[in-house]
């Protein structure tokens, strides 16, 4: 079951860290880093159903509406 309620312990710091960790990278490098980050986090979650829920949720927010 995907956690969709607020779950960050230190939201502002965590977000700042995400942005800072991309500093100095080209766009292509940032994409490569994001891909690796997603794989690392997916492995941490592990459960297929939870990952499927997260992917669907993310996809729905970028899906173009007709």
């Amino acid at each position: 079951m995907l956690e969709t309620k607020a779950n960050f312990s230190r939201p502002d710091e965590t977000y700042a860290l995400l942005i800072k960790s991309h500093e100095g990278l080209t766009e292509a490098e940032s994409h490569a880093m994001n891909a690796r980050l997603i794989l690392i986090l997916m492995n941490h979650i592990g459960d297929h159903a939870t990952i499927a829920e997260a992917l669907a949720l993310a996809r729905n927010t970028v899906e173009k509406h007709p």
Binding site: H31, A32, A35, R36, I38, L39, I40, N43
Partner: protein, 540 residues
């Protein structure tokens, strides 16, 4: 006048030279019980299995033996277990090469190596590498032995099926030979005539799926050099050979190299020996001496027929389904087709089971084909990413895999063929949830050491009632079948206890002739056993 039968390819072993049959001079077409068309691995296994069950079978092939070229080279444990039941498994293992160490490269970097460390307590290894001609030859040796022991199998070389007409309860065939054409009839026709199946075309049946635009160059090279017995797989190899390359050891100092070439290639140019040598030398390094033994270019598709059974015509192996080469699922799944079909067809021919039992062949093996197609398509999409983002993720997995073992579980250069579990099959009877999940109804029986031998050898190929520390009668018959009974103790036999008892103290398994579990309980119950047997015979 049609052409007389020409050999389509060079022969490795001439096993069944043409000889004129009295059928060719008959005034009216001779009717056979079962005709199997195509003496490749699947046709041989099907004919052998049927013949050993006492069913008269005529095997037709348009050549006189086994074709040259390594082709299918990786044979999985379940295939070896099935071939062992047919009398050919041990010769295959003796000749075959076993390996446990694999290496994965990206470009020119070794990412990691792995050791498969096979699970103990099985009679056969997880897989062997063996050239297809030897695989077929060992099946044919077993067939000749079975014939000598009275199995009613006849093989006719240079007999090419040129026309097929499907009737309600039989099939009419026109067969071409060096002496001209003749006609035959069969109650049943099993089409094992390969991916381009002429019989499928003659019946106007479709073959739908996904075509992958890719070519593979196979080079078999002979090297006496001290090269390790390991499987090496390259993603985006530095020697610029398309998306992947694979190096595999075969018997007789032969190494199999598969180069993925991509789509727009000049086949004739790629097959020139100098061009092949340039690739091979780039891969092996400048100082390694080798000879080219056999080379070929092939393409593949992932597709299957909608149905494998069309009345009295049944398709098995590549004629029914085709997969990518990643994971060695072509010949291995075809042998499982033969394993699934032979006992069912035998019981239908003998009148013990209703015709509808054959519909379960269709259902179970379509399920198996879909599983194989899904697996091999995933491997193909990993090896040859179809979009920029797919490639980014793939290369990210490879980059992480160098340092982080978790990412290695995502690296997919082909998932080795595992036997299919027929979950949800209408033939499956009751289950008991305290018994181990890996031996649930629909599963192939896991092997285990038993009294200095092996469980699967003891099971053989009949309906069997297997008791583990449970009481069963010495004999049990129902629905025209006398069950074979086998009583074993799991005392001091951990593999048997783990694989068949789990949390329970006792167990009774009803096992199908293809060694798949039909039903299981913790204790014997005559009525329940008879009911499960009826179900496994499609009599319900």
């Amino acid at each position: 006048m049609k052409n007389l039968v020409t050999e389509r390819y060079p022969i490795a072993f001439r096993l069944y030279p043409y000889a004129k049959s009295p059928d060719q001079d008959a005034d009216t077409p001779i009717r056979h019980k079962v005709i199997v068309a195509g003496a490749g691995p699947i046709g041989l296994a099907t004919a052998l299995d049927l013949g050993r069950r006492g069913i008269p079978v005529l095997l037709l092939d348009d050549t006189e033996g086994v074709g040259l070229g390594s082709r299918a080279i990786c044979f999985a444990k379940r295939t070896l277990e099935i071939c062992d039941r047919l009398g050919a498994g041990e010769a295959m293992v003796e000749k075959g090469v076993q390996w446990n160490v694999g290496k994965v490269f990206h470009d020119d970097r070794l990412l990691y190596e792995f050791n498969l460390l096979p699970e103990g307590g099985h009679g056969f290894p997880a897989f062997i590498n063996l050239q297809q001609p030897w695989f077929e030859r060992f099946l044919h040796d077993a067939l000749v032995k079975a014939q000598a022991a009275g199995a009613p199998i006849e093989v006719r070389g240079r007999n090419r099926v040129d026309a097929v007409c499907r009737r309600d309860d039989h099939v009419e065939l026109e067969v071409m030979t060096p002496d001209g054409p003749y006609n035959l009839e069969a109650d049943w026709l099993v089409a094992c005539d390969g991916a381009r199946s002429p019989i499928r075309s003659m019946l106007g049946l479709g073959f739908d799926g996904r075509v992958f635009e890719d070519n593979f160059l196979i080079a078999d090279v002979k090297m006496n050099a001290d090269f390790p017995t390991e499987r090496w797989f390259w993603f985006e190899p530095h020697f610029k050979s398309g998306d992947s390359a694979l190096l595999h050891k075969q018997p007789d100092d032969i190494w199999r190299i598969d180069f993925q070439l991509g789509w727009n290639i000049d086949r004739a140019k790629e097959l020139e020996p100098d061009n092949i040598r340039a690739r091979v030398s780039a891969m092996l390094g400048p100082d390694v001496e080798y000879e080219l033994d056999w080379c070929s270019i092939y393409t593949f598709q992932c597709r299957r027929m909608e149905k494998f059974r069309h009345g009295p015509v049944i398709f098995a192996g590549d004629s029914a389904h085709q997969v990518s080469p990643f994971g060695a699922r072509g010949a291995n799944s075809g042998v499982q087709d033969a394993d699934n079909l032979a006992w069912k067809l035998a019981l239908v021919v003998q009148g013990v089971a209703p015709d509808s039992l054959l519909d379960s062949y269709d259902l179970e093996r379509v399920y198996g084909a879909d599983e194989n197609i899904a697996n091999s398509t995933r491997a193909t999409d990993f090896i040859t990413p179809k979009s920029p983002i797919s490639k980014l993720f793939r290369n990210s997995v490879l980059s992480l895999a160098e340092k982080l073992p978790f990412a290695r579980t995502l690296v997919n250069s082909g998932r080795l063929s595992l036997p299919c579990t027929y979950d949800g099959s209408p033939l499956n009877g009751p289950d008991d949830k305290d018994l181990p999940v890996l031996a649930r109804p629909g599963s192939p029986c896991p092997d285990a050491p038993v009294d200095g031998g092996w469980l699967l050898k003891r099971l053989g190929g009949e309906f069997t009632l297997l008791a583990i520390d449970a009481e069963i009668p010495e004999t049990f018959s129902a629905h025209g079948i006398a069950l074979k009974t086998l009583w074993l103790s799991a005392d001091e036999n951990r593999p048997l206890a783990e694989r068949y008892l789990g949390k329970a103290a006792t167990a009774v398994y009803l096992i199908r002739p293809d060694q798949h579990v039909a039903a299981r309980w913790q204790a014997f119950d005559a009525a329940a056993t008879a009911e499960a047997l009826a179900r496994a015979l499609a009599k319900e």
